[in-house]
Amino acid sequence: MDFLTLIQLLDSTVRLATPLLLACLAGLFSERAGIFDIGLEGKMLAAAFFSAAVAALSGSVWVGLLAGIGASVALSLLHGLASITFRGNQLISGVAINFLAAGLTVLIAQDWFSQGGRTPSLMGGARFEPVSLPFAEALSAVPFLGPVYSELISGHSVLVYLAFATVPMTWWLLYRTRFGLRLRAVGENPAAVDTAGVSVIGLRYAAVIICGVLCGIAGAYLSTALQAGFVKDMSAGRGFIALAALIFAKWRPWYALWATLLFGLFGALETRPDVIQSLIGIKVQGQLLAALPYIMTVIILAGFVGKAIPPRAGGEPYVKER
């Protein structure tokens, strides 16, 4: 494998890891506050549709992005209503949200565009175009670092840079602010937070809304940057891979970055079987690569290789008076 192939591989790794990273951080906020969220997939899908649809209708990708975030936050609030206000089963609510998004996106797409559940192809300002970083062109001649800068680091859509910037921001918010401390506490011991006079419900709703915003960006990235338009079920299990990455990352922001990059690399390798063959000399089945994130997560969950301990109050509705 030559240097240029490696750069290409890493380049598509970054592109495929971006939606996973955003969704993974989304889940991190929610689950750190004690709200399990298996509805990441549905929220991404809804955001993917609404951002593509509104971008197609308005011609502006930024308006589309806002619409996508709006749709995702709406589903988040539904999840909050079910699991925080009405103290329902968070897992069942997540399942319902996934189906709701899978059905409604196609239904509305058919009603709006009559193209068999897809949106028209996005062009021009309705898409996130790659951003050329300064001097990318000029530096590309520099050996080694030139291609790395101009091919790998430069030339992604603005959402990719946003996703990567979200990692330190999440870390800072969770570990260096009062809000973050309370958010983590509410996922471990909500009664203590309540005793301190801080609203458990308020904190959990805040976490769920942040989760919605990040999922919304992830979905918008899928349909307006990674691809040019929405197609039915386009999230294709990414929400669940993000969930797997979250467990893999043990609910920590920096680990989430590495986990999603790793799963992104698997995704990139899936499309390049020749690279693996030349690298390790044996043919690896594409199906195995596709299943690898899930298999690795099960192994981590089993606790044979490092133990993943979820937030203690995760999945349990908080009842004030006992």
């Binding site: 609510s93 399942v95 669940f240 099960v298």
Partner: protein
């Protein structure tokens, strides 16, 4: 302690949830510019207006009976088995292997063999998440989700690389031999002189699913094991104190659940397609969740809910055929049913409880 009378708990709460889901579904149909009343009429004629419609309704219902029972048994043990989809995929693999590798002399023997294989494969696929939950405390919801995806990868690999007949491009097994063909309702009812559509895929498996309902009811409410499963589901601490082993109950409940989900394959793989295709399960494993929630995890409730979803599925297909409403409407209805009967249960329950409390005070 019980605020509401039993009938309200068993009938009223699910009914109100269902009505809420129906109202929202009607609004969705209105919003996309179609007439809900006409849509319901079309669904009823399409799904129940002919023996052809009934044949499809009952065929779908058979799938949902198995997956609904699977989710229910796990629910009774306090476990949420979201992996019915993967377990049913593996069940299909079991059926395909049994039908293709063993030269069955008669369909009755093949049915027994295939049912065992389907149950075994389904149970095996549930066994690993169950073991990890019981022994290592890994959350069963996450592991079963992961196992759905792993099952899809495994099935894809097996169909493309191992079981695909030479020269075929289709990721599917060869057709099963003629001897393992299961009698359809047309064949069965024909013997007693009732004419039933020949084209519809409903088959003898429906009767097996009904028997499975009765057996699950007997297991849960008439045996020691069922008592242990239910007590473990109600209170793990109390069950432990009573000498019930959490590991054993988790394993047994999940094995039964996985076997039931796997057995769905005798309907769709052996009864209908007569070969194993990639997307044989078609989401029936997930519909089992809606069916179990709506049926309050009781076999009789599951039976009614499965018929309802069978009706929705066949009716939805008819709608897609005759109107511009896509099939995905059913997915929306399914989501609303799960939402209202599952996640938003308290939203319906809390006001009702208040109402009943007020009525009780009025009496006193």
């Amino acid at each position: 302690m019980d605020v509401m009378p039993k009938w309200a708990e068993v009938v009223l709460v699910p009914l109100i949830s269902l009505i809420l889901a129906a109202i929202l579904s009607a609004l969705v149909i209105l919003a996309i510019g179609e007439d809900p009343v006409e849509a319901v009429n079309l669904m009823i004629t399409g799904a129940l207006g002919s023996t052809y419609g009934w044949g499809y309704t009952l065929y779908y219902a058979t799938n949902f009976l198995f997956t609904g029972l699977a989710v229910s048994v796990a629910f009774h043990a306090g476990l949420f088995n979201i992996g019915g989809e993967g377990q049913a995929m593996l069940g299909g693999l079991g059926v395909a292997l049994a039908c293709l590798l063993i030269p069955w002399p008669h369909w009755t023997l093949a049915l027994i063999g295939a049912t065992l294989a389907a149950g075994l494969f389904g149970a095996a696929w549930a066994a690993i998440p169950a073991f990890l939950q019981a022994k290592r405390g890994s959350h069963i919801v996450i592991t079963t989700i992961m196992f759905n995806f792993i099952a899809a990868g495994l099935l894809n690999y097996v169909l493309v690389n191992l079981m695909r007949p030479a020269g075929s491009m289709d990721p599917a097994t060869a057709r099963f031999p003629e001897t393992v063909h299961l009698p359809t309702l047309h064949d069965i009812l024909g013997t007693v002189g009732i004419s039933f559509s020949k084209a519809a895929p409903a088959n003898v498996t429906f009767l097996i699913a009904v028997v499975a309902c009765v057996l699950v009811w007997l297991l849960l409410w008439r045996t020691w094991l069922g008592y242990e499963i239910r007590s473990y589901g109600k209170s793990e601490a109390a069950a432990k104190y009573a000498g019930i082993s959490p590991v054993a109950i988790t394993m047994i409940a999940m094995l039964i659940s996985g076997a039931l989900a796997g057995m769905m394959a005798i309907n769709n793989v052996m009864g209908e397609a007569e070969r194993l295709v990639l997307n044989a399960v078609e989401g029936a494993g997930f519909i089992g969740i809606a069916v179990a929630l709506m049926g309050r995890s009781h076999p009789f409730g599951v039976f009614l809910a499965a018929i309802l979803f069978g009706f929705l599925y066949q009716g939805g297909a008819e709608l897609a055929l005759w109107t511009s409403i896509p099939r995905e409407l059913i997915v929306v209805i399914q989501a609303l049913v799960i939402l209202f009967t599952g996640a938003l249960d308290n939203m319906v329950r809390m006001p009702l409880e208040r109402l009943f409390l007020m009525m009780r005070r009025g009496d006193a």
